[in-house]
Structure formats: structure tokens, C-alpha cells
């Protein structure tokens, strides 16, 4: 929290620094990479969208300390909602003839799809969160995972509305690097504001010592629920943009299970306890994934044509995650945030003056 007595622009800037620094870095990277080629710009967009999902996941996991294997469900719910709202009515009539009348006729603007998708995902999160936040530890992990399976089975077989494992096409493709960058920046900011807010700090207290937090009157379940809903909403934004960047949705081949695995892996590799972990983890695994995607297609290195068999990218992703968990269980960032550059040297002398520096 920022001290309300001295809100000056410089104080605000300092307070936001750990988040802003990453936003600036991401902006520079995005513009630099997008300038190379349309293919590279698509990669940048894809990475930024994953970053949004990871940020969403982080808002819950990072602050509450409870693992969720259920956020893939919010990606599904929000993406399809936005698709129902934004696919042009003429196409809907052909592709989804079973859609109810009012959805058939809706021809909404992209932002309506975004708002609608986020709202529905948040609502689902609220309803399922009320019972699920009572669980802790392994029960919470299994419970959220069961929830994911329920949602994914429903969308997989609800062919009249979703086309199931076939592709649902016709989504307006409006997401490019700039929109993805804006959305990612907003997500990071939301996450930062939440984690430094009263709610976020109290929730972190429950993560460190639930019994002590309860004893001092903190209502852990309510805080977890707030984080869960907010986290679902941010992840949902990622889910929606993913659909509108690819132009099609499908639940075939465990797409969402794998996507969910990927974002969990990114968070874990980066470090679940800090916002910096979100960015570091996402970028690291995206870069490694991209290199191996290239190798699967085949590249020439020093005259050698190297082609890796399909599937090697996923194998490597899994391997990176395992190595990270074994060698660096706290993630690459070890739960640390960026510190204000000039002050990092005298942190030891003045630890109490800027408590935002360390969020381990």
C-alpha cells in the first residue's frame, strides 16, 4: 500500500516501479520484434496473450499460495462467450444453427465480447469459488482440476453451441501486438495493485500462516474468493484475446489442458510468488518453445538440416519445468520483485522505508 500522507508523482512512480519497469521492457521488446516480420509479430502477440493468462493465474496462486488447476476452465468459458457475441450473425446462422435466437442476432463489437466473456468467467468463478475456496492444499488442487474437467467435458460435447472438437471459426481477428501489449500492461497493473492492496497483503498473510492469520481475524475464505474472481477475470481476458488472435476455437486434442499446463509451467518456472516471476517465466518458456517450434519445422544450421520430430517442443517444455522445479524450486526470480534501482545498494540500511521492494 502506498502511504496516503505523501502521494506525490514521484512516490506513485516509485510504488509502481516494479510493474512499470516490466511494462516498458515488454513494450520495447514488442515493438522491436514486431518490426522484424509479420510472423514475429504473431509470436509477440501470442506471448503477450499467454502473459495475460499467467498474470491471471498468478493473482490467485501467488497471493493465496493455493494451486489452481482450474483456470483453463475460465479460458474456455470466456473465449466461447466472446465468440458467441462477436461472430457475425450471418456466419452464426450457418455454423451454429442451434444457438438460441437472441445470440443468433447479436452482432457485438469486440469490446462487448471482451466485457461479456470476462463477466461470465467472473460469475462462474464466483459460483464455483464459494465452495472451492474452503479447500486448501492438495484438496484444492484436485477440486479445481475436477472443475476444469467438468467445464471442458461440457464444452467438448455441447456441440450445438461450441462445435465441440471441430473448429468454431469466424471469430473477428482484431488482436495484434499493440492490443495484446495494452491488455498485458493492464493485467500486470491490476495484479500489482491487487498484491499491494490491503486485500492482497492480508491474503499473503494467510498464505504464510493460515492459523495465525485466522486468529488475528482475517477471513481467509473471503479474501481467497476475491482473488479467485479477479484472477479468473484477468485470465479470461487472455482467453478471449487468444480466440480473436487465432480466429478459431476448438476443444480438440486437450488444447485447453495443454494450454493450462503451459501457463502453470510458465508461472512455476518464473516463480509463483512474484509478479516478476510471471514475466520472466512467460518470456523464458516462450523463447524456448519458439526455438523448438522452429526446429520441428526444420532449420539449416551450418549446412545441417535439423528437423526434430513433432512433440519435441512439448517434451522440452516439460523438461524445463521439471529442471526448474528440481534445481530452483522457488522459480527463476525466487519470489523477488524488481527493486528501485538507486536504492538497491542501501537496502540494508533502510529496510522499512520502502516495504514494496521485497515481496518474498
Amino acid at each position: 500500500m502506498i502511504d496516503e500522507a505523501k502521494i506525490t508523482p514521484s512516490a506513485i512512480f516509485r510504488f509502481l516501479w516494479p510493474c512499470l519497469a516490466w511494462v516498458v521492457l515488454l513494450a520495447i521488446l514488442t515493438f522491436a520484434i514486431s518490426a522484424i516480420s509479420p510472423a514475429m509479430s504473431r509470436i509477440a502477440t501470442d506471448t503477450l496473450i499467454k502473459l495475460i493468462m499467467v498474470t491471471g493465474l498468478y493473482i490467485f496462486i501467488g497471493n493465496s499460495g493455493i494451486l489452481s488447476f482450474g483456470h483453463g476452465a475460465f479460458l474456455i468459458v470466456s473465449a466461447y462467450t466472446s465468440a458467441w457475441l462477436t461472430i457475425p450473425p450471418m456466419m452464426k446462422k450457418v455454423i451454429l444453427p442451434n444457438l438460441p435466437q437472441f445470440l443468433q442476432l447479436v452482432d457485438a463489437a469486440p469490446y462487448v465480447g471482451i466485457v461479456g466473456g470476462i463477466l461470465l468467467a467472473a460469475l462462474v468463478a464466483l459460483l464455483i469459488g464459494i465452495p472451492l475456496v474452503r479447500l486448501s492444499g492438495i484438496a484444492a488442487s484436485i477440486g479445481t482440476f475436477a472443475f476444469f474437467i467438468v467445464v471442458s467435458v461440457i464444452y467438448n460435447n455441447w456441440t450445438g453451441w461450441t462445435k465441440g472438437t471441430a473448429s468454431l471459426v469466424g471469430l473477428p481477428v482484431y488482436v495484434g501486438p499493440k492490443i495484446a501489449l495494452c491488455a498485458a500492461s493492464v493485467s500486470l497493473l491490476v495484479a500489482w495493485l491487487f498484491q499491494t492492496s490491503r486485500y492482497g497483503l492480508l491474503l499473503r498473510a494467510t498464505r504464510e500462516d493460515l492459523v495465525a492469520a485466522r486468529a488475528s481475524g482475517i477471513r481467509a475464505e473471503r479474501l481467497r474468493l476475491v482473488a479467485f474472481v479477479l484472477s479468473a477475470a484477468v485470465a479470461a481476458l487472455g482467453g478471449i484475446l487468444w480466440g480473436h488472435s487465432n480466429g478459431a476455437l476448438s476443444t480438440a486434442n486437450n488444447v485447453y489442458l495443454n494450454l493450462q499446463f503451459t501457463i502453470i509451467a510458465m508461472l512455476v518456472v518464473g516463480g509463483v510468488r512474484s509478479l516478476s516471476g510471471v514475466v520472466v517465466g512467460t518470456l523464458t518458456l516462450s523463447i524456448i518453445g519458439e526455438i523448438f517450434r522452429r526446429l520441428e519445422i526444420g532449420v539449416d544450421i551450418f549446412g545441417l538440416n535439423i528437423i526434430l520430430p513433432g512433440g519435441s517442443r512439448e517434451v522440452l517444455l516439460g523438461l524445463c519445468m521439471l529442471l526448474a522445479l528440481i534445481l530452483r524450486p522457488d522459480g527463476l526470480t525466487r519470489g523477488l520483485e524488481l527493486s528501485w534501482p538507486r536504492r538497491s545498494a542501501n537496502r540494508h540500511k533502510l529496510p522499512q522505508e520502502n516495504p514494496m521492494e521485497l515481496h518474498s
Binding site: S141, I142, G143, A146, F147, I154, V268, G310, M321, I326
Partner: protein
């Protein structure tokens, strides 16, 4: 379909689920690991059957057994032992990552399409008794479940490794302090769970004759359901949980209207959430010596 027929179907499906659930529950009971990669022990075994097609069947089964036990021990040695002291949630991600990796490694080796093998077609043939249609493999499933569950119960309760396993499960540090070689005990648990996985593999492949690198996932999921319903880590609970899930799916198959049939699995997993909320320690209050708080 008569009631008896339904009972047989439920028991044979449930037997497979029960074996899977026990394999998962045993490892969870001993080291608190929810092993997603368990499905991969089942899956890699199926591909061994694919490669040994044409061998005399006991030889093929022996090959599967040897391979899968080594595979399971290697997964413990190379991966899980490295994170032994991590909290259960971290272990769960680790096993998730391992499972994912193995699946795609098999995609690299065998492609992601369905492969078929004609393994012991004789036993999947059915015969009729008093109007009941019974497949040989169903009887095997029921029989194998009963025999293996009983054998495991005896092993856990009455042998030296059995009580050492219970000790490691209850208090790993104290077990080390009295000289129990916990790594060896844990390896034994992995080997036993691999043995159960091999049984599932053989029965499953004999029944369906097909496999993909992903087919372990759905069995693992069902196994989890049974494990949770039975009470995590309680072996008799896992066995009963497996049979219950088998009964539930058979029942849903009978009772659900056709347009809701595809959503069967959703009902099963919704049941998991309900059980976790209402009876976090399992539906069946069986107290096992291996259970973990």
C-alpha cells in the same frame, strides 16, 4: 438389461478403475504424491505390447512388467526423489510436468494417432450364462482386482516392508531415524504401483486393442476420482471408490437420456467436487493404516 448384467458390467469396469485408484492411492499414501504420471505407466506398457505383438503372450506380459517397473523406478529416481521434501502441491505439478513430457515423448516416437494391436483376442470373446452376456475379460478384471487387492492388503499389513511402508507414510523423518531405508521403501511402493499399472494395461489392451499416447490420461482422471471418493491414501477406500465410480458410470450410462450421455464424465467429476466439500476425507470412512491426514 437385467440388474445382474448391470452388476457384472459395473464390477468389471469398476475393477479396472479400482486397480488404477489403488496404484495412485498407494503412492499418495506413502509419499503424499498425487502422481499424474501414473497414467503414463499404463500407457508405456501398452506400447510395449504393441512392439511385442506376435510374441507368446506370457513373454509379452513379462516384457511389459519389466519395462514398466523399471520405468516407474526411474521416474522416482530421476524426478520424484529430487523433490522429496517439496509440498504436495509442488509434487503434483512435477508429476503433471512429467506426465506431459512422457506423452509427447511417445508422440515423437509413435505419432499421436491411434495404434492397434491384436492382443489375446480370445479373452475378450463373450459367452452366455443363463441369459447373461459375459466377456472373459470382464471376469479377469473382476478376478484380478480381488486377488491383487487382497494380496496388497496382506503385504501392507503383515510383512516387514509393509510396516516399514506404513512407518514412512506416517513419519518419514522418524523412519529414517530408526534406520529404515526410506528410498528403498518408496521404490518398493513405486514397483507395486507399476505392477498394478501393468495389470490395467494388459486388461485394457486385451479389451480395446488400441492405444494413443494420451489414453493414460483419462484412466488416471478416473483413478483420481476413485481415490478422492475413497479417501486419499486409504487403500480399501481406493478399491471401493473404484468400484463405486464403475457403478456410477454404468448407472449413468443406463439412466441418462441419450442427449446427456456425452456429459457422463462431467457428472462423475462434479461428484468429486461434492465429495471433497462434503466429506474431505473420503466417502467411505475406512480407516486404513496407510491413510494420511
Amino acid at each position: 438389461m437385467t440388474f445382474l448384467q448391470m452388476l457384472i458390467d459395473a464390477a468389471s469396469v469398476g475393477g479396472l478403475y479400482a486397480l488404477t485408484a489403488i496404484g495412485i492411492g498407494l503412492i499418495f499414501g506413502v509419499i503424499g504424491l498425487v502422481n499424474f504420471a501414473y497414467g503414463e505407466y499404463i500407457m508405456v506398457g501398452a506400447y510395449v505390447l504393441l512392439l511385442t505383438a506376435g510374441f507368446y503372450w506370457p513373454v509379452a506380459v513379462l516384457c511389459v512388467l519389466v519395462f514398466v517397473v523399471i520405468f516407474a523406478l526411474a521416474s522416482d529416481w530421476l524426478v520424484f526423489r529430487q523433490v522429496r521434501r517439496a509440498p504436495p502441491e509442488t509434487l503434483m505439478i512435477v508429476s503433471f510436468g512429467l506426465s506431459f513430457m512422457i506423452q509427447y515423448f511417445y508422440v515423437m516416437l509413435f505419432g499421436s494417432l491411434t495404434r492397434t494391436v491384436n492382443f489375446l483376442p480370445e479373452i475378450s470373446r463373450g459367452f452366455e450364462v443363463g441369459g447373461l452376456r459375459i466377456a472373459g475379460v470382464s471376469l479377469l478384471q473382476i478376478g484380478a482386482t480381488l486377488v491383487l487387492t487382497a494380496a496388497l492388503a496382506i503385504f501392507i499389513n503383515f510383512t516387514r516392508i509393509g510396516y516399514q511402508m506404513r512407518a514412512v507414510s506416517e513419519n518419514p523423518r522418524m523412519a529414517r531415524l530408526v534406520g529404515v531405508n526410506s528410498n528403498r521403501i518408496i521404490a518398493a511402493a513405486f514397483a507395486i504401483s507399476a505392477l498394478l499399472a501393468v495389470t490395467v494395461t494388459v486388461l485394457f489392451v486385451a479389451q480395446t486393442g488400441s492405444m494413443t499416447p494420451f489414453f493414460g490420461v483419462s484412466l488416471t482422471m478416473i483413478g483420481f476420482v476413485a481415490t478422492v471418493i475413497g479417501g486419499l491414501g486409504s487403500l480399501p477406500g481406493c478399491a471401493l471408490g473404484g468400484f463405486l465410480v464403475g457403478a456410477l458410470t454404468t448407472l449413468l450410462q443406463m439412466l441418462l437420456p441419450p442427449d446427456l450421455q456425452p456429459f457422463r464424465e462431467a457428472f462423475v467429476f462434479a461428484a468429486v467436487i461434492v465429495v471433497l466439500l462434503v466429506r474431505p476425507r473420503g466417502l467411505i470412512a475406512v480407516r486404513s493404516s496407510l491413510e494420511r491426514v
